[in-house]
């Protein structure tokens, strides 16, 4: 037998059972594609997408046996399943608020729904990648779908501009990532995280390895919109349709954080000095720049975009410490950021449908008198992003802070605290405008059922988690210990 025949004969059938969530998402996307071609029933498209997401979420919760399948190219473990569940959850909320928003803006396309599903599929691939090739294909599928989604607001110049910047800089990011992957492949001779981890150890950190890791970090930082690679973020977030902004700011970012954590911990566990320094510098720059620029914004959507850059900084700061506690803090903060981020952006998406609302800070004047409940929800989201105790944002920042102190990285911990205080300047400004000014219009605020449900769900969850964070903290702890145990498996 020749070598090739031996390779082919040694292969079995991949275990498709662990791929059920992905398969359901893919089939739903094609069903929506066909429905969109044949009918114009908008409600049907939303309902089918939501049902597909719901069905896909079930197996992520009750799957008993994970597996490393597709010949070592796809891993299904608790880490990936948890992140898949939360990605599906956030996509679900985006899908249920999308239709009223688009109809209010007079620009409905059925294509939004299956592009969102394709993008979700790419993110699900990213979080379960044990191999640089799978990760690369996942990030490409996710970002190409999002470039299109960001530019679909075709009447709006800002949307086109934002999508164009995102396309160019995202393409640069992909190119940089592939350059990094090429260097690492040249150095180690493999794409598998396990082999890379066994080849690059702390005593043989040479130029090839360090250059590969550094370039990969730059590419990933561009995808996570970390300063100084953030230039696309404010424009793309401001220009995109607001529910899509929520999708970009929450689902896309969470998957990037998850994949960053997995690559750093599983592929380069013995080169931690390199990536600790790299992420610490990027995180400090993101926190300082994001918060100070956000102070000067009058457009709340743009302000939230800068605040999301600052949050990238808070989350990535955990990677400055190579300890289990830091990884736990990163997972916890990413998971709870879903609720604050979705809450904030979907609030804007709901308000943009109201009469004469332009996302300017002046539009928030006296909102508490027009709609006390809605103002209360926004207050909760702002307090949580700021990190005030009864909300969950406090525990996210506390986890990162404690992890940094335990590893004696005081300077970054100090930057984190000082920048959190600076961020009070713009988060509280929104609250002050809502509660301490007289309303300019008396128009009533109308919400659709989906929007009201989403906002209430997010606000209540932020509060519940703030009072009782143990559940999520335990999950994060289990995931981080599994990740650490998986090194060099």
């Amino acid at each position: 037998m020749s070598v090739l025949q031996e390779i082919v004969a040694g292969l079995g059938v991949p275990n498709f059972k662990v791929l059920i969530p992905e398969i359901i998402i893919l089939i739903t996307a094609f069903i929506v594609f066909v429905i969109e071609l044949l009918t114009k029933a908008r409600l049907l498209i939303t309902v089918v997408t939501a049902i597909g997401l719901f069905l896909a979420a079930i197996p992520t919760l009750n799957m008993e046996y994970g597996d490393l399948t597709f010949y070592g190219l796809y891993i299904v473990d608790s880490f990936s399943l948890t992140f898949k569940f939360f990605l599906i959850l956030s996509t679900f909320f985006v899908v249920i608020v999308l239709r009223p928003y688009l109809e209010a803006k007079n620009t409905y396309y059925g294509e939004y729904y299956y592009l969102i599903l394709f993008s979700l599929l790419g993110m699900m691939m990213m979080v379960s990648a044990p191999n640089l090739i799978t990760f690369y294909m996942g990030i490409e599928l996710a970002s190409i779908s999002i470039y299109i989604l960001a530019g679909m607001f075709k009447k709006d110049y800002l949307s086109k501009e934002g999508a164009f910047k995102y396309l160019i800089l995202g393409g640069t990011g992909t190119a940089v990532i592939s350059y990094g992957i090429a260097l690492i492949y040249g150095r180690t001779g493999s794409f598998d995280f396990v082999t890379i981890a066994n080849t690059i150890t702390s005593d043989n950190l040479d130029v090839g390895a360090v250059a590969g890791i550094a370039i990969l970090i730059i590419g990933l930082a561009l995808k996570a919109s970390s300063v100084p690679f953030h230039f696309w973020t404010p424009d793309a977030y401001q220009g995109a349709p607001t529910p899509i902004t929520a999708f970009m700011a929450v689902a896309a970012k969470i998957s990037v954080f998850a994949v960053i954590l997995r690559i750093m911990v599983e592929a380069f566990p013995f080169a931690y000095e390199v990536w600790n320094t790299g992420w610490a510098l990027l995180a400090a720059a993101s926190m300082i720049f994001g918060n100070f620029v956000a102070l000067r914004q009058d457009n709340v959507k743009r302000m939230l975009a800068y605040s999301s850059i600052a949050h990238s900084g808070y989350i990535l700061a955990a990677l400055a410490a190579p300890s289990g506690a830091a990884f736990t803090a990163l997972i916890f903060y990413s998971l709870v950021y879903i609720f604050m981020g979705l809450g904030g952006f979907i609030f804007l998406s709901a308000m943009e449908r109201q009469y004469n609302w332009s996302n300017n800070i002046n539009d928030f004047r006296g909102l508490a008198k027009r709609s006390p409940i809605l103002a209360l929800f926004m207050l909760i989201f702002m307090f949580s992003m700021l990190g005030i105790p009864p909300t969950v944002g406090f525990f996210g920042k506390l986890g990162v802070f404690i992890a940094l102190i335990n590893s004696d990285i005081w300077w970054l911990a100090v930057v984190l605290v000082v920048m959190s205080i600076v961020s009070a300047g713009y988060y509280l400004r929104v609250v002050i405008y809502m509660y301490m000014h007289e309303p300019q219009s008396k128009a009533k605020v109308n919400l659709s059922v989906g929007e009201a449900f989403t906002l209430a769900f997010m606000a209540v969850f932020v509060l519940i988690l703030g009072i009782y964070p143990t559940v999520f903290w335990d999950i994060s702890q289990i995931l981080s210990s599994l990740l650490v145990a998986g090194i060099g498996r």
């Binding site: 390779i7 597709f70 294509e111 299956y114 799978t134 779908s145």
Partner: protein, 176 residues
């Protein structure tokens, strides 16, 4: 001199000369033509090293597909007057480009690369050929990413159609 050595010197000299042309020609069409020439010369380098698959792919994908798109863009966008030298950008681009060049050269010369250790030793390649070896890996171990690439192409196609077609406004649709 052996034929492959002669080939190497001819191809590499021409590649470097055409690369200078890409940078220094003021007329953008000349620059693109020099780019095609560079890419063909690089593929010639691959052929002299016995990597016939990469050489062929280089010609097919870069020299034909991508550069044709460049020409298409240049000819459809009338305002495309390539401003060759914008000094304020060169403050950043020159050092960064030089740094990347130094890094790549240093890594290559320093020999940080791992030597070929996989199952495809040069004897096996001699026996089965590059195309068969790559195809075997692509359709067995890397089947999953290969299939996902088709999804990426589908998404890109849908996106091009959506972004390219005319905006239809809801009110107009209701009237019809």
């Amino acid at each position: 001199m052996e034929l492959s050595t002669t080939g190497f010197w001819v191809f590499s000299t021409l590649a470097v000369l055409s690369a200078f042309g890409v940078v220094f020609f003021r007329n953008i069409i000349y620059a693109v033509l020099s780019l095609i020439s560079t890419l063909i010369m690089v593929s010639g380098l691959f052929f002299t090293m016995g990597a016939e698959l990469i050489g062929a792919l280089q010609i097919l994908i870069y020299a034909v597909a991508i550069v044709v798109f460049y020409v298409l863009v240049i000819s459809t966008v009338p305002e495309f007057k390539g401003k060759a030298f914008e000094p304020k950008y060169m403050i950043v681009s020159l050092p960064v480009g030089f740094l990347i060049f130094i890094e790549l050269a240093f890594v290559s010369l320093y020999g940080a690369w791992k030597s070929n250790t996989g199952i495809f030793t040069s004897e096996v390649i001699q026996e089965v050929g590059n195309v068969k070896a790559v195809a075997t890996m692509l359709f067995t171990k890397y089947l999953f990413p290969f299939e996902v690439a088709s999804l990426i192409l589908l998404v890109a196609m849908i996106g091009a159609i959506i972004l390219g077609k005319k905006e239809h406004v809801i009110d107009e649709e209701a009237e019809n």
